[in-house]
């Protein structure tokens, strides 16, 4: 089984409030259809949909004031709107996608997704469908509500469903020796060992200042430990996601134990 992450920087215009990047989504939907690599689960990030709304209302830190329930719901609504665009375009491209709302099926405990009933997701897969989930505003047992990142969801799904390969599609080629946007000598690291401990992963990310890479690596390391091949590729470059789904050699960073 494959899991594909479509990063928020890929599926949205990050600097335009609640603006879906339909050009990228359409191209990626076609690549996914052409790759014809199933079973597949897709998880996408929030980009300019979920993040600004969640930030405005302080949703990630949980409920401090009851009025925040409106911001909590609005964060979810924003994600539903983005998910809708993505699923519609996947269906149009011929991918049998089905929208699954994380906040309708799970809760976190202290911001962590410790338990997940994957029964429903498995059933969709058995029917040859492609569940499409996303980072979402979810209920939390400790702080009333929280933000569940798409990356944390992927780590859990990968381990519980026994994924063979997890592909993180973002707006960079992978992990670099330094920030490639600032240092022209920065080199792409083709293989990064997570070496079974978080510290190593932390060190590695010092060499990359791309937003969210540390968190992404920490979650991705979980999937590696669970037995999945984890690959980070640039989803903005046409053909990369398609090749990665097909299992072809592609420019990117492979995470290993």
């Amino acid at each position: 089984m494959l899991i594909l992450k479509l990063g928020g920087s890929v599926v949205t215009h990050k600097d335009e409030y609640m603006s879906a990047h339909t050009g990228n989504i359409k191209r990626l939907a076609e690549e996914i259809a052409e790759a014809d690599a199933y079973p597949l689960v897709i998880v996408h990030g929030g980009g300019s949909f979920g993040h600004p709304v969640a930030k405005k209302h302080g949703i990630a830190d949980g409920m401090v004031d009851r009025s925040q329930v409106f911001g909590f719901s609005e964060t979810h609504q924003a994600m539903v709107k983005l998910n809708e665009v993505i699923v519609d375009l996947l269906l149009k491209a011929g991918v049998p996608a089905f929208a699954i709302s994380p906040s309708s099926m799970l809760r976190t405990d202290g911001r962590r997704l410790n338990e997940l009933d994957t029964g429903l997701v498995k059933k969709f897969i058995e029917l040859s469908m492609v569940p499409v989930l996303y980072g979402d505003a979810v209920l939390d047992s400790d702080q009333s509500f929280a933000i569940l990142s798409g990356d944390q969801l992927i780590a859990k799904l990968s381990n519980d469903l026994g994924a063979g390969r997890v592909i993180f599609g973002s707006d960079v080629d992978g992990i670099f020796t330094d920030n490639p946007k600032l240092n022209p000598d920065a080199r792409l690291i083709e293989t990064v060992s997570i070496s079974g401990n978080e510290a190593n992963v932390g060190d590695t990310t010092h060499t990359d200042v791309t937003g969210g890479m540390l968190g992404k690596l920490s979650e991705a390391a979980e999937a590696v430990r669970g037995g999945a091949d984890v690959l980070m590729v640039n989803a903005l470059v046409p053909g990369r996601v398609k090749a990665a789904l097909r299992g072809e050699k592609v420019i990117g960073t492979v995470l290993t134990l």
Copy 2:
């Protein structure tokens, strides 16, 4: 606890494909906010969103051909779009609504909702939020997928959550002695006894040809047997839903044992 059904004929323009009746939704959102009657769960129907798509692809009868998975997903997508409009307008009116996607949380067995984990719905209610669910295209253990009507969902929610009152808001005043649109002498029946057997309910509906009333009555009878006060009111008449939520005397039909 209260459960309010907003019928598809109220929240959509029934004769216009995928057209939300934002005027009705906005007014009802304001009535719900003004009624200030919590805890509350809202369930809405499909009207011109879910029904035409489901019918086109034969979703209610289950999977015969694998290509139907696209129609199955499109039916859900249509319902998500309608739900989005309703939740957005509820939030705007000051109702702490939260969208819950039935197909992400439950499965039917042979078109019946026999088991439902209401844990998540209860948690939303505990946080003073108003879960907003809907009739949906859902997975089914016998026929791969099915249509779960909003009315069946209400019967199950009412019994499992122990609702005190269930209000069905539709486009008619309630149950009549004859079809009020054809017979000017038709009288509204203020109280209908379900008398513990389906036959009686079936007889009653002979006097009303409004689409879907038989199915609605059969599900509503379940809620009555579960101990809820069940009331049918005309949600097109301003003030009716608000009064019903407040527990005031209102024109409509009360179902009793």
